[in-house]
Symmetry: C2
Amino acid sequence: MKISQLSRRTGVPVASIKYFRREGLLPAGRATAATLAEYGEEHVERLRLIKALTTLGGLSIAATREVLGAVDHAHSTESALGAISYALPVPVAAQPAGGTEEEAQAAASAQAEVAALIGAMGWEAPDTSPHVQGLAAALKELRRLEAGYTPGELAAYAALAESVARLDLERAAPLDDPVALAERAVIVFAICAPVFELLRRLAQEDQVRRRAARTDDAPGC
Amino acid sequence: MKISQLSRRTGVPVASIKYFRREGLLPAGRATAATLAEYGEEHVERLRLIKALTTLGGLSIAATREVLGAVDHAHSTESALGAISYALPVPVAAQPAGGTEEEAQAAASAQAEVAALIGAMGWEAPDTSPHVQGLAAALKELRRLEAGYTPGELAAYAALAESVARLDLERAAPLDDPVALAERAVIVFAICAPVFELLRRLAQEDQVRRRAARTDDAPGC
DNA sequence: AGTAACTGGATAGTGGCAGTATCTTGTAGG
DNA sequence: CCTACAAGATACTGCCACTATCCAGTTACT
């Protein structure tokens, strides 16, 4: 298959295919001559995955490269899952850290809060995990906005998150071929996050509507 | 307070403050002379919120403007919650829709799937809701990637999402002043989504670790 | 009154990202 | 041999979120 056919099959412009190849997201075709290369089904597949990660998952090109790299170097299924999880961008950008005394104290207390939560949930996570860092940063900022979680609230959310993660793993688990599993895992981890977010919004919408109905119907009660 | 003091108080460069004002995110100060304006605590507060939405919530300037507009025009608490929810960006970009016959069919079946889910959950949501649209688009794409949900899985996720939404509303509910509630709601809706996402990742990380331990320790079982 | 420092506002410029277009050289097939 | 297309390198574009510069007006201080 030549590049123009690959383009027609996937709906991705030729120039973009070349761009993805340049950026290391797509392997080069098998060269048959100095100015000719052959592409296969795996390229179609890979392009689909790239499109899904960038448009559905909202990943940047750089993040997509990381994630695909983790997929490709998936020796064992578990290491692949871990690598993918770490390669996904953390949705919280750490603040530049003012350097103030209280700043540092707030950061420390947020970290302690995260550690306490992890302990309470019986989870295992190294302090170096980007998720731990990101969570601490987010909690610190929320506290500053006077919208911090109580430990109880946080634990409640964490319990629900654990249930969601269990479902995620079940969805990813059935496959045993490392590559297939890695691809599935990418989809489940990266793209199903937006799906859950949408479900949550729908549920919020419904809750708001109920709340509105309650206060309208029975304003005095 | 002059603009330079506002800048020092918040850590936001003067040029950025001017930019936010230009973009309609920050109201102008009270002009005391042709080249002099007075800023107050509400500006400090608003800047904090802007920073939180853009860096923590990952919102674009345009989305932030939408959301803040919803906060400002919060007549009743419920309308504010709804407006904010709709103003938040949907994390799934709809595909350009190929126009093929099967494309259209896939889109229709995804929409039916969403409608069925909403019915099964007893939720109420108009078809025009951006969340409904986005969810249908995401499900369609996942099906195309051969990673679609079974109705049971989707329902399980939806049930968990409902629990999360209930917690969200509880966190937002205690306040009754519309403006305070709107600000709180923005934070809960926009910024706590990343927090939950991080919790989920942590839980996934733990689950993966457990799975790895299981297969390592008892490879034959 | 004079002047340095600062202010608000308008306008233009910067850097990064995600492509898109152009150009050169090299086949392939009739 | 000639036309059409292929591959790869390089340059360009549009958008976004700032950032810098410029100008005229104001203030504080001497």
